[in-house]
């Protein structure tokens, strides 16, 4: 078995590829660092010089304006130079291979690649083939992982609930195709959450998911009852009709989060969503905008968490 490629031989984080396999103390350390950056975001001059002179390349092989923007803001607040490359519309479209693209960008003296790719594992291939001083941050790969989203979700939960070890967390929706769900599950497990529920129909929440240590629920009421945290996932358009689900309407009727369903959770339960939300598909507007919703704080925390990740890995050598 190979060594975990995101850690150096001292066990320090040099790339962030997945939350799986990272120790609990390291996760808390990143969340603590994010806490210190949160105040930077409130200052008049929202910059610290930690990445001054460094070049961060945003490599988005799959489009995502929102995630790319939050990484860009995070890198700029760390004083890095940020180069955005929309590969989906340039090199890859011209037939250049992934590794050729990486070799070319490395020759431009990149210090960090932030990678979004439609295939699970693509950031591992990049981390394996780039120069030793270059760091890789996975900004979402296929169905596999979205570790910064996982960390910002943990930051949010810690912020509102403090202790992980007494919580019940329900994740609802298209779990099988979700990199966010996988990263959340690994993070919640590592941080000691005793009950994690995966809620949805069998086409989106197959029994195999039990292998990840979650309780699989096909009934929404059973899934959210007594929960401290309800994480709703975005239902991708392509899943809304076909062999996975007959229609968005039927999905909402059974698994959409309404006031009525939310009432089954603990009275102080928080509602989270990685965004962008589909109102009326996975979540009712009055819930998304309601007092239990922490969807907007998630976005704010996301910048601080990405600053923490980038400054942590930039400080460690391969």
């Amino acid at each position: 078995m190979q060594r975990n490629p995101q850690l150096n031989k001292h066990g320090e984080l040099i790339h962030l590829l997945s939350i799986e396999g990272l120790p609990r103390a390291l996760l808390h350390q990143i969340l603590d660092t994010a806490g210190t950056f949160l105040s930077v975001n409130d200052r008049d001059v929202k910059k610290v010089p930690l990445l001054r002179g460094k070049s961060v390349f945003n490599l988005f092989f799959e489009n995502s304006t929102r995630t790319r923007t939050t990484f860009e803001i995070a890198a700029k607040r760390l004083s890095a130079d940020v180069i955005n490359l929309d590969i989906a519309r340039s090199s890859a479209a011209k037939g250049e291979s992934l590794l050729d693209t990486i070799a070319n960008l490395s020759a431009m003296h990149a210090d960090m690649f932030v990678v979004r790719h439609s295939e699970s594992g693509a950031p591992y291939l990049i981390a394996q083939h780039c120069a030793p001083h270059v760091h890789v941050v996975n900004a979402g790969d296929g169905r596999h992982a979205h570790p910064t989203q996982g960390l910002l979700d943990m930051y949010t939960i810690r912020h509102f609930k403090q202790d992980f070890t007494q919580l019940t967390v329900a994740i609802v929706g298209d779990i099988v195709h979700s990199r966010v769900a996988r990263s959340d599950i690994h993070a919640l497990t590592t941080l000691g959450v005793p009950e994690i529920r995966a809620v949805g129909p069998k086409t989106l929440v197959p029994g195999d998911l039990r292998e990840m240590g979650v309780r699989v629920c096909h009934d929404m009421a059973e899934g959210v009852r007594g929960a401290d945290v309800v994480i709703m996932l975005r239902l991708q358009n392509e899943r809304m009709s076909g062999a996975m689900l007959p229609s968005a309407g039927e999905f909402f009727k059974n698994y959409g989060l309404t006031q009525e369903k939310l009432a089954l959770a603990k009275p102080d339960a928080i509602v989270m969503h990685p965004g962008p939300i589909n109102r009326g598909v996975e979540i009712e507007s009055s819930v998304a905008d309601g007092k239990q919703s922490v969807i907007l704080p998630q976005v704010t925390f996301g910048i601080a968490v990405r600053m923490a990740v980038m400054s942590t890995i930039a400080g460690n050598n391969a």
């Binding site: 699970s120 594992g121 998911l209 292998e211």
Partner: protein
């Protein structure tokens, strides 16, 4: 033709279990004596086989040569050189070339090119359907005359059961064997075996039922048509169980497994290692255990390399996009020996899975001389492999003779090193 004398070797005939010291005399491409050689025999050359095993050359039922159409991944020259370097003297190649082997002319050309290279014997499988498209039957009788030893869809699954029934009816009319990889066309679309690892890594899964549903379908069609079927590359414990019952019932079926499924599991994928991107996908420990036991008890007839040279550009991609397959010809012997030792089997038994047993699968499609391959008998064809059973070596894919430089066994230390390979009495390979 040279007269050759192999002296002081340890002679192993897997067909009879014979294992003991002796000499072998070869003349005119045939073995003339095994054990003690008459002092009147005048060799042109003597080979000292002290410390070496003298065994029949290996017979590999699944070797992609990549010609015609995929010459950037492999050529007849490079892949035949890899065969003899691995002690393999007969290879069966599937029809998934470009164009597929669906016309007699293509088969004749391939056989002609192979004959001119004068290395391993080549036995092509013809395409079962034209273009492997699963719609129109090929001219099987013509293809058989051109040298095809069976008919196959390779990895192109045949979803249409009506066409499959007709193909099996037609093939069985002439007594041809149909070679099928049991995999459902729809359930088999994933890139890794369904299970904990695929779930964790977010890779699309191929469930075990993709194999068992296909096996049930094939067995029903065998019952209905009487066709003889060879099942290629089993991957699961449940699949092995179905084959065991089918054989007990007396159905005319045989099957093989690749060195990959015999030694590896999905855990070896680790962090998206594309060298482990294989078809069929690697399954779990209990599947591997069942496969290892079934090869030992004869439920699985033959061990194959499933040799598939893949070029660098096609492999250096994210796991799901990487082309499936691995280079295997040069590892077949060592991986058979490793399995045999780990299972506590005799050397003759381990070798039988890559010599006489695959020849039995080919059955009477081979001409009378060729059908003596896989055995060490007087009057038989002098296809012989001399190897050092004590030698250990480390797999370095860059050193392969094959044009494909990808192996899931890279870096692993293996037992057994080929020293010399004879094909029809001539020295086709000698180690430096």
């Amino acid at each position: 033709m040279m007269n050759l004398l192999i002296k002081n070797g340890r002679l192993v005939d897997p067909a009879t279990g014979r294992d003991g010291p002796g000499d072998v005399a070869i003349a005119a491409g045939r073995v003339v004596s095994v054990g003690s050689v008459s002092p009147d025999f005048r060799p042109d050359r003597s080979i000292d086989a002290s410390g070496l095993v003298v065994a029949p050359g290996l017979v590999d039922l699944a070797v992609r040569l990549r010609e015609p159409g995929h010459e950037h991944e492999g050529m007849l020259e490079s892949e035949m050189a890899a065969a003899v370097a691995g002690g393999v003297t007969s290879v069966v190649c599937p029809p998934d070339t470009d164009p597929p082997l669906d016309e007699p002319g293509l088969v004749e050309m391939l056989k002609f090119r192979a004959r001119n290279l004068n290395q391993a014997h080549l036995y092509p499988l013809g395409a079962l359907t034209r273009g492997l498209a699963g719609e129109v039957l090929t001219e099987m009788a013509e293809l058989a005359e051109a040298g095809c030893v069976g008919f196959s869809q390779a990895d192109a699954t045949l979803g249409d059961t009506l066409i499959m029934q007709r193909a099996m009816q037609y093939a069985s009319t002439f007594g041809y064997t149909v070679w099928l990889r049991p995999q459902d066309a729809y359930l088999g679309k994933g890139v890794a075996a369904s299970g904990a690892l695929a779930t964790r890594l977010g890779l699309t899964g191929v469930p075990v039922i993709a194999e068992t549903i296909a096996l049930h379908t094939i067995f029903e069609l065998v019952r209905a048509t009487g066709a003889r079927v060879h099942l290629c590359r089993l991957s699961s414990a449940a699949g092995v169980g179905l084959v065991r019952s089918a054989k007990a019932e007396g159905l005319p079926v045989s099957c093989d497994v690749s060195v990959n499924q015999l030694h590896l599991t999905d855990m070896d994928i680790g962090y998206f290692n594309a060298a482990m991107r294989l078809t069929p996908p690697l399954r779990q420990q209990r599947d591997r255990d069942a496969i290892r036991a079934a090869l030992a008890d004869g439920t699985i007839d033959a061990l194959v390399s499933d040799h598939t040279p893949v070029d660098e550009d096609a492999k250096n991609l994210p796991f799901a996009e990487a082309e499936p397959g691995a280079t295997g010809l040069e590892l077949l012997l060592s991986l058979a020996l490793k399995w045999g030792t780990e299972q506590g089997l005799s050397l003759a038994k381990a070798l039988s899975t890559v010599t006489c047993e695959p020849v039995r699968v080919l059955g009477d499609t081979l001409a009378s001389l060729a059908s003596s391959a896989g055995r060490l008998v007087e009057g038989g064809v002098a296809d012989i492999c001399l190897f050092d059973p004590q030698a250990r070596w480390t797999v370095q894919p860059t050193a392969f003779k094959s044009q494909g430089k990808h192996s899931p066994f890279a870096g692993l230390e293996l037992p057994g090193k080929v020293r010399c390979t004879l094909v029809a009495g001539h020295v086709a390979y000698e180690a430096d």
